[in-house]
Point group: C2
């Protein structure tokens, strides 16, 4: 028994099974050129010895690491974390691990930094979160480097194999439908920042639904924010400052919606009695603010899992879905408009 306390290597397996290490390698890599009998024999030895291939050695030999990278530029923390958990759902019990890399999309060196990072770490694939997922140069970079990638977005940014998306525009339409159903006519929107695809999608959904209902969207019912709390507060102040103020506001994300709550409160406008507010993202703040906020939630964890599977097991059924439904979460921030 040459077995010590050391972890067994491919050589140990080969010796015990009485085959060459290459054959063991073939078993590990599911090569189809093996006789079933050989495969079974080796598999038994693997089980018996508790052998697990060394990812570092594989990485060196194959020139690519068993690491998935998560590239993001600090959108909301809960989103990023949920995404991480979703990826873990996919890679648990595999040899893959998840490395995270916050980046700064405003830095002129971003692409250079990422290139250098990819060169060094030889990632198996990367997951791109919005807003940087919308950067086509970045996707091109991944292709050039032979690094798999999946973009997460609100629109059809890429081929299905490289994409998980939510149907933001449709879900915003359903928000507006809901508000109209409650009796609202003067509905305002706080848009997200220019250049964000998600902002554009959500805005388009808004416009489409309003026009479908034959409702006007005057200029003073449109404000723009940065997706941050403060900007929502400012934008809402602008919307609420006019003489014919809206009875409902749709904010393109929850943080801005929370800002709108504050703006309303400071003007003695009560939510939802005097003003209905709907956000987007279903982040924790939506549930914890008062009154609890109606918002649109998307299945981040499932999307993350699907994205990871697209990279590590493109054939898996879980890797097929690309479009995921975002759905209205009804809470207490919407009521019928005041009669006046």
């Amino acid at each position: 028994m040459p077995e010590t306390t050391q972890k067994p290597t491919i050589n140990d397996v080969a010796r015990v099974a009485g085959v060459s290490k290459k054959t063991v390698s073939r078993v590990i890599n599911q090569s189809p050129l093996l006789k079933q009998a050989t495969r079974t024999k080796v598999e038994n030895v693997i089980l018996q010895l508790g052998y697990r291939p060394n990812p570092q050695a594989r990485a060196l030999a194959m020139g690519r690491n068993f690491l998935l990278g998560l590239l993001h530029d600090n959108p909301n923390a809960q989103t990023v974390l949920n995404f991480q958990v979703g990826v873990l759902d996919a890679i648990r019990d595999t040899e893959f691990a998840l490395v995270v890399r916050p980046v700064d999309r405003r830095s002129p060196d971003m692409l250079k930094d990422i290139r250098s990072f990819l060169e060094l770490q030889r990632l198996y694939g990367v997951l791109l979160l919005p807003p940087i997922s919308e950067n086509d140069d970045l996707a091109q970079l991944c292709r050039d480097m032979g690094c798999g990638y999946v973009r997460m977005g609100s629109a059809k940014l890429d081929h299905a194999e490289h994409l998980v998306q939510s149907n933001d525009s449709e879900s915003v339409e359903s928000v507006i439908d809901y508000l109209v159903e409650q009796g609202h006519r003067r509905i305002a929107i706080i848009q997200g920042p220019e250049g964000f695809r998600s902002a554009k999608e959500r805005f388009e959904g808004f416009v489409a639904a309003m026009s479908r209902h034959g409702l006007a969207v005057p200029d003073d019912a449109i404000a723009r924010g940065t997706y941050r709390f403060d900007s929502g507060l400012e934008a809402a102040n602008a919307l609420l400052g006019g003489d014919r103020r809206p009875t409902a506001i749709f904010a393109s994300n929850d943080e801005m919606a929370a800002g709108a709550f504050h703006a309303a409160r400071s003007r003695n406008i009560e939510v939802p009695r005097d003003l209905s507010i709907v956000g987007f993202d279903d982040s924790p703040i939506a549930a914890h603010i008062w009154p609890p906020m109606s918002t649109v939630g998307w299945p981040i964890r499932q999307m993350a899992k699907a994205a990871a599977l697209k990279l590590i097991a493109p054939g898996d059924p879980g890797a097929q879905q690309s479009c995921f439904p975002a759905e209205l979460v009804r809470r207490a921030s919407v009521a019928s408009p005041p009669k006046d």
Copy 2:
């Protein structure tokens, strides 16, 4: 010129510099046995060729990867994300990368899973976030596996080289001092869950400060929560349901404090006029709730950076500090108590 478009390897450097690859290796690893002249010569070639050592090859040869692991059990998302950013501050421009691994502390297999993870990935070191940082078996496991580790906590859990801590107890004392200064006498606490060191520290700070001020802490001024929103709501309901209700509540984290806000609101108790509330963590919700909440903030990013440096560069000045100050953030949720 044998240079192609391929990345240069240690062999290229050795050849061009006219030394052996081992000598180049010595330069990379800062070996002190080198003649200055040789070192300089090789360094120049490295620069000239733009050579960067391949982490996978190093990992294989050295038996340990250039990866830092972040093990956490989903405390608050913002904390985890800030921590990640702090770690990135430390490892940017090094060959290190950060891998994250959410774990489940309630699972009986947690230790087994982590062991298997560490065995496979051969991490350079791991960073342990509360509450699992308080698990001594886990720390022991890291030692057994020859894996560096740093625990982040609210108390002196380990030797300084393995620890970054905040002075929770003292900062809670300063919260109570502040409340007393504002005129409060009946101050209640919502404790964190049993078994959490942070909960204990915060509670002890509370008790110490109250006794220092000669104030009573009756049983009905103590409630316990789970650090989650709902539990804070429940706990606050219990505290506010008595006949001599407190004029101020200190909640051991912001989520529970937010729950307390809701409880107050539903009882028509206005914050801060009728009730002052202080939280802990300075999470985004503290700033976004209405009225903005006074809370205790700790410098997570700096702590994370220090923790990472303790692993990858123990000699660095930034790696020396172990205790970081948590500090009161004054916002609008505290006022003088109502006179009655």
